[in-house]
Amino acid sequence: MDAIHVEGLTKQFRPGWPGRPPATVLDRLSFSVQQGEIYGFLGPNGSGKTTTIKVLIGLIRATSGTVELLGKPAGDVPTRRRVGFLPEAPYFYDYLTAEEFLTFYGHLAGLERGVLGKRVLHLLDMVGLAEAGTRQLRKFSKGMLQRVGLAQALIHDPDLVILDEPMSGLDPIGRKQVRDLILGLRGQGKTVFFSTHIIPDVEMICDRVGVIVKGKLLATGRVDELVSHGHTQSVEIVCQGIAAEQVTAIRTMATRLVQQGSQTLIVLPKPDLLEGVLAEIRKHGGTLISVTPHKSSLEELFFKSPGQADHIRPIAGV
């Protein structure tokens, strides 16, 4: 059983005026998240990440398609005992202290008083807020709110954790803490689904990724699979002792030539040209310093519009 299973998810919003067509925010999304993995949901602002998450949580209803969490339809109330959720830029009851806040959410999740007290202290310690437990949330910084929000998502020890932009607004230390926390959750066998528009976050910790742009899922699969799917792998060559600008063969093959002192950077559009350029360098008495194959990155996927991404093959088994 998948932790999350989404099949043909479409969400349309009714138009503000009669006669206008409905706005399609999500267009036939299909993906699944396996249990125990970290799945990154990557896309630029306004691509439909938060809308997808809202459908998963049951805050909004899908126009069509199937959405299941832990084998049950999205919105199933008992299943929510096994799901933790942190919304984007969360706003909480700021009149509560951090301890009261976590206790409130623990009660809502059905935790008993005895268990809850220990759990609250443990989680405050885990997110680095042990000293701030009796402080009202209105006195918390943005980073502290994000961390206490993470604690509320985990208060009932859920099997599946859904986080909407969990690292937004955090400084580099905070981001690392959240990354470590997510990795720690995977270590405990939990499933983590998180959205972000920051590519390195995904590349660093995710087992698998889904890339969403303009409401369409461009690609989904393992990070290494996705980045190797691009056909245009460029190659960077650094050499010295040769004025590459003056070698016609190199000049015609390279897309970019940069001369810095005695060294030259040659960028080739495809690896097939490598042997020819290396031969030219040797022929003109140059010395090779380095050859770096440049793979297509998630960044390239990220910036593609749905129409441009036709060459990306869907990943089997997703």
Partner: protein, 254 residues
């Protein structure tokens, strides 16, 4: 049931930590004080004057809290997006709506209890009689406040706070004029006017049924049958509004 209590207690705590509520209690105390001052200025019937002003103050403050806190009960949660994390918990939307209502009712109960104690203390200090009619009036005021809270909550589930306030206050005013509407319907020769006004009479709440302040201040009781009928009417009306609020909230996207 448990999530309803958890939501209610949290709403109650929010109300208690809200400084506006303390200000309202303070202003109610001022109003009761003013009633004593006015009673001193009258030559006759100063006991009636104290009772009249006291009951009016309890009613007014109760309705103000019900309207201005009630209209934000649900809409504020949606506007501030606190609803997201609540609805991600294993609770039903109906339980959330009922919990919010119950929380405000708890606040209103405490608030009204304090005001009634101050009111009775004032009567006692002025050696005015504390008779059963006053308790009847307070009980009916409480039911009226329950109805107004349900109206505010009903609008709060699908409208903004400002619009909810306007509509709730509008219904409150109309609710006190429905008896006149019946008179208009009876005296009108137009069948259409009769039909419209009669519909309004039966659809809109008749809050005047719950108003026995005038006679209570003079020490005149209403019959227990009347009181039971008026309270049942008010509670049924509030229950219908709550059911409507739950149905609307159930269908909402956030």
């Amino acid at each position: 049931m448990w999530p309803v209590i958890v939501i209610a207690l949290n709403t109650f705590r929010e109300n208690l930590r809200d400084k506006i509520l303390y200000n309202l209690v303070f202003s109610s105390l001022l109003l009761i004080g003013a009633s004593v001052l006015l009673a001193d200025l009258t030559i006759m019937e100063h006991h009636k004057m104290i009772a009249d002003m006291g009951l009016a103050a309890i009613n007014l403050v109760g309705v103000i809290i019900a309207v201005f806190v009630g209209i934000g009960l649900v809409s504020k949660e949606i506007e501030r997006r606190t609803i997201y994390t609540i609805m991600a918990r294993p609770i039903k939307r109906t339980q959330f709506v009922l919990g919010k209502y119950l929380g405000l009712v708890m606040t209103l109960s405490v608030n009204m209890a304090v005001m009634v104690i101050v009111f009775f203390a004032t009567l006692w200090l002025y050696r005015a009689p504390i008779h059963g009619a006053l308790i009847q009036a307070v009980a009916l005021i409480f039911v009226e406040v329950l109805v107004v809270t349900a109206i505010a909550l009903f609008f709060s589930t699908f409208s903004t706070s400002t619009l909810s306030a306007i509509m709730t206050l509008g219904l409150f005013v109309v609710g006190h004029l429905t008896v006149d509407l019946k008179g208009i319907a009876e005296s009108s020769r137009s069948e259409m006017v009769q039909a419209v006004v009669t519909t309004v009479y039966y659809v809109f709440p008749n809050l005047e049924i719950l108003n026995v302040k005038g006679q209570a201040a003079m020490g005149v009781h209403v019959s227990y049958a009347y009181q039971a009928m008026a309270m049942s009417y008010g509670l049924l009306y509030a229950a219908l509004l709550l059911a409507g609020a739950c149905v609307i909230f159930q269908r909402r996207d956030f």
